[in-house]
């Protein structure tokens, strides 16, 4: 496994196909020993009718790609796919897919957890909750999500932000 894997990143309104995406990372190769997957689903908390996900077209793809490239640089992956949906999603609907493939399970499992933790804190999506009866509210960012991302080390994402600010001559 030489050279960094180029991750597949998609931001889309339509559902994704876990089986097809898994096959795309394993078909025709014999060096994959483990494929880890995470699927985030819309949960019906407190009578939720739907989640509406807004995002920042352009930056979203860039931010996810940057996180995925960090995973590919940090772990010896043979493949990596991240698909994040936007728009109106009802309870039970899949929202996000993270797939990581590697020769060995630890790299696949760890990088998959890293990716979902960092997506929660670095990908520009905002969730609005719609309830039966018409009430709605914006989901607030959770401190535990920041803590989950931070356990991977103040990592490349933060360092990248610092480097960017330094390049532009700004403070951090």
């Amino acid at each position: 496994m030489s050279g960094a894997v180029v991750p597949t990143v998609r931001v889309q309104e339509v559902p994704f196909d876990l089986a097809a995406e898994s096959a795309a990372l394993t078909q025709g190769r014999v060096d994959v020993g483990g494929l880890a997957s995470f699927v985030g689903l819309c949960r019906a908390d407190d009578g939720l009718a739907a989640l509406v996900l807004e995002h920042y077209p352009g930056m979203t793809e860039r931010a996810i790609t940057a996180i995925a490239e960090q995973a590919c640089a940090r772990w010896p992956l043979t493949g990596c796919t991240v698909i994040h949906r936007h728009g109106r999603l009802e309870p039970g609907a899949p929202i996000v897919l993270v797939l990581t493939a590697s020769s060995h399970r630890a790299a696949a499992l760890e990088s998959c957890a890293f990716l979902i933790d960092w997506l929660k804190t670095r990908a520009p999506f905002w969730k609005r909750e719609e309830f039966a009866g018409g009430a709605e509210r914006w989901v607030e960012a959770k401190a535990e999500d920041d803590a989950a991302a931070a356990r991977w080390g103040e990592a490349e994402a933060a360092r990248r932000g610092d480097a960017e600010a330094a390049r532009r001559g700004g403070a951090t």
Binding site: G40, L53, E54, H55, Y56, G58, M59, R62, A63, H84, I95, V96, I116, L119, K120, T121, R122, A123, P124, F125, W126, K127, R128, W138, V139, E140, A141, D145, G161, E164, A165, R168, G169, G170, A171, T172
Partner: protein, 83 residues
């Protein structure tokens, strides 16, 4: 300069994006927030709790001290809640 707003910041400002031409003394994200806040009551409401507003300059997360200038794309939004 193109300014974009997302989520509740967009709702409070009342528009998703606008072209603005701040004076030269507006040099960084914090200065732009102060200048934008005076444009309308909606802007003022959006930036009233500046600690809850995050920024990106040219599609990279940016700190309050990050420089901004003509031609930049600057976005303001709440802390992200994806995943």
């Amino acid at each position: 300069m193109r300014v974009l707003y997302f989520a509740w910041v967009r709702q409070k400002v009342g528009v998703a994006e606008e072209e603005v031409a701040p004076p030269p003394e507006v040099r960084d994200v914090a200065g732009l927030i102060a200048w934008l806040s005076a444009r309308s009551p909606g802007h003022a409401a959006a930036f009233a709790q500046a600690r809850q507003v995050r920024a990106a300059v040219n599609q990279e997360f940016a700190a309050p001290g990050a420089p901004v200038g003509p031609g930049d794309e600057v976005a303001f939004f709440p802390p992200v809640t994806g995943g």
